[in-house]
């Protein structure tokens, strides 16, 4: 909090007001989108690495799933933080998009894009479909509302048989198709998002600008390969359910 004479004459500014005015500003909102995006990219990367344990067999992945479920309250704290980030990310981008539409009342008759990538131009659309996919994905594998019978599947150790239910889940071509579409759009979203948060957080210097723009789609492509491997291996019969 600050009360007394300030060096640049804004005596009425308090910390709370400063936070509000930061969020109200264009750049402040972008910081929120970038920071929440960074958390979500971190989750997406960790989730992929965790999932890939399915290729090590039934034992490691079921053990990993049991460990995550055993986190108890901590699991809900993590989920809470992730959902808060997701919510802030969506609300803030919607606000920015509304402002951007209002800032351009009349469109050009002819536009010839010079730099913007397809991923950059479709962030709102890809984001919306990803949200729909996320809801389906949570109902499919996390809450298992779509297949309540999966909750009764257990392996020899008595652990929840995540290994088998994931493979069985992906043997449905419709579910796999939607999954691949969702993951593809997510990675396209991130091919713009990864270089974007570095720009927004003020870390993109002239030296790293070009390598970053080049690397961003490759990093996103790597994530896509990691995510696509499991459904593709399941549907091709490389991974087989044990239940």
């Amino acid at each position: 909090m600050c009360f007394s004479v300030r060096p640049y004459g804004r005596p009425d500014v308090t910390t709370v007001k400063a936070i509000i005015s930061f969020y109200q500003s264009s750049i402040g909102k972008k910081w929120i989108v970038a920071l929440t995006g960074l958390v979500l990219v971190g989750f997406v990367t960790g989730h992929m690495i965790g999932n890939l344990q399915i290729f090590l067999g039934q034992e490691p992945i079921n053990k990993y799933a049991t460990f995550l479920q055993g986190l108890g309250e901590l699991l809900w704290v993590i989920r809470g933080v992730l959902f808060a980030c997701l919510g802030l990310h969506i609300v803030t981008t919607v606000l920015l998009t509304i402002q951007n539409a209002a800032a351009t009342p009349q469109k050009y008759a002819v536009t010839k894009s010079q730099a913007a990538t397809i991923a950059a131009k479709t962030m709102a659309i890809s984001g919306t479909i990803i949200l729909a996919f996320l809801i389906f994905h949570l109902l499919h594998f996390t809450a298992q509302t779509i297949h309540p019978e999966w909750q009764g599947w257990h392996d020899a150790e008595g652990r929840h048989d995540v290994y088998s239910l994931v493979i069985v889940g992906f043997q449905n071509p419709l579910a796999t198709g939607f999954y691949l579409l969702g993951v593809f759009l997510l990675c396209m979203h991130l091919s713009h998002g990864i270089q974007s948060f570095i720009q927004t957080l003020g870390l993109r210097s002239r030296k790293i600008a070009d390598p970053l723009t080049t690397a961003s789609p490759y990093l996103a492509g790597l994530l896509f390969l990691g995510y696509a491997a499991i459904p593709v291996a399941s549907i091709l019969g490389i991974l087989k359910p044990l239940h």
């Binding site: 800032a103 050009y108 010079q114 913007a116 570095i198 720009q199 927004t200 003020g202 210097s205 002239r206």
Partner: protein, 256 residues
Amino acid sequence: MSDTLNLTLKVWRQKNAGTPGKFVEYPAKNIPTDCSFLEMLDIVNETLVQQNIEPIAFDHDCREGICGMCSLVINGVAHGPERATTTCQLHMRHFKDGDTIYVEPWRVGAFPLIKDLIVDRSSYDRIQQAGGFITARAGSAPDANSVPIPKQNADSAMDAAACIGCGACAAACPNSSAMLFVAAKVSHLALLPQGQPERTRRALKMVTTMDKEGFGNCTNYYECEAVCPAEIKSSFISMLNREYAFAAVRDGVSVI
């Protein structure tokens, strides 16, 4: 004798901000390839005047590529198809005989249209007035190089200072964001010792004014960088993002 071109122009004509505008087709005949785009418009205007038609209104001043007065979105690209070139320095040899050329004004909410291809860019002036200056002592000129400045900073500051404030960045931005302009002005002074006393206030006030003027938000399309006649790099926007956040923190937690 140089070659000549016959072109078809589709020019945005609008009497004033309150009247709806439309494209009007004009032939541009016998245009020498040595002409600049503005000289081509001069020739077309000559023929329009002879036919008792109101000439096309467009902005221009120095016609040397340094004043930032000319504008025009030519076939969907601000300042036309040549990189790092203002409209006045764009020569007709970059067009082909028989081409149809669409000529539009900057279409940015914060640049209200005045007439035809002329828009009011005083919102950029107000952003500049909000903080794009330093306090300098009056009196005799100080000794040259009395303030040491790292060479790299001097070079980067000069790169940012190259901005001519033409508005192409906002015009090319699908979000009508003025971030490249503000980034150039804020970075230019933030990189130099002379700009330090107002550093925090400058970043806050210029960004606040930018928002108040109704410019959009940057979503990192980098269209601005591609059309900028002064080749201002989008990495300056990254620097502005950092400057603004640090300024907001200094402003929010300052105890003095």
